[in-house]
Symmetry: C2
Subunit: 211 residues, 2 copies
């Protein structure tokens, strides 16, 4: 059996509730490790290095890029954001499943490098719910909400390239759904070729004995 | 949401316990319909037309082939065996998931015609268990057991082309595993493109209102 962990990318529109889903999932099931991104943006009040982000200087981040120590990275509002390779590979080698909460562009880059990656896209039950959640935060102006919806419209094009869709209507249901999609991934034939080979060897041995 | 049922092919070595798994699965979860094959072989004591098989004359069967009314068929020990298309499509249209218990050659033909088909391969926990189950039937000679093992060795090559593997160690666990693999299939993006499109339309409408 393949004891390596599974790599999972979770994407979805801003406001769809990915963060809450991931928090609950990783609290409920400790075998899932949420990857921590590296960034060059300054830490905000209450943020801790290695918890919300690994905070890096521009020089450090660019060295990580050059040394291929990021699985994917992007530049956003003048700051870099990326996924450190070391943590992901360490956790997977230990048998933990690693979840990356990243955007579609990054998702494709991850899939190219780790073809067994499970790509999940979180959807709202409908667009109205998304608007309510964005407005419900209370912190966003009408303008910001509209720019988020425009972005969601763009991202919905990307959704089609994902493998599975999870509708985030009820938190616990969403968590269980994601869990069962990850568990199903463990049974992929491609992950179990060593087991198939082992059965074959056993059959050959039994047939030789029978001769 | 795509309300159509899912087509599932279940294959596995003779003696691996597919039949028992399928019986339990379809008894426990009534939304799964087990497809009944057509055959030209004579009914055995206690077999009923439409339950174990649809019993057909050679002429009837060959007409079904010509009229493309079989999804797949094969000839085995001088008799035809095949999967009638009508039952499968009717059940799927009603939203029931249809399970075909067929061999690898047939599995590929089904997948060609219905690309969303889920291909499952049932494996024994080890080769020794397979031999014990084959011997345990008590009805098989050593010779028959060996020919089954030789066939299993051939089929293990085919297993690699399946999508998922289910190890049949504990009946209830196996049933639940198959169930969760079928359920996961419902969340495939490809089955939910109409929903993604609906969200997009809703987003566009909301953005137009906001202007």
């Amino acid at each position: 059996m393949n004891k390596n962990g599974i790599l999972v990318v979770v994407s979805g529109f801003s406001g769809v509730g990915k963060g809450t889903l991931m928090k609950r999932l990783t609290e409920k099931y400790r075998q899932y490790a949420l990857s921590v991104s590296a960034t060059t943006r300054a830490p905000r009040e209450g943020e801790e290095d290695g918890r919300e982000y690994f905070f890096k200087s521009r020089e450090e981040f660019e060295r990580m890029i050059r040394e291929n120590r990021l699985i994917e990275y992007a530049s956003y509002c003048g700051n870099y954001y990326g996924t450190p390779r070391e943590y992901v590979e360490e956790q997977m080698a230990k048998g933990r499943d690693v979840i990356l909460e990243i955007e579609a562009q990054g998702a494709y880059k991850v899939k190219q490098q780790y073809p067994d990656t499970l790509l999940l896209f979180v959807m709202p039950p409908d667009a109205k719910t998304l608007v309510e959640r964005l407005s419900g935060r209370g912190t966003e102006s009408q303008e910001v909400i509209e720019s988020r919806l425009t972005r969601a419209l763009e991202e919905s094009q990307m959704a089609e390239k994902y493998e599975y869709m999870v509708i985030n209507e009820d938190l616990e249901e969403g968590v269980e759904k994601i869990r069962s999609l990850i568990e199903a991934q463990r049974d992929k034939i491609g992950r179990n070729l060593a087991f198939v080979q082992e059965i074959r060897t056993q059959l050959e041995t039994l047939l030789k004995k029978g001769e």
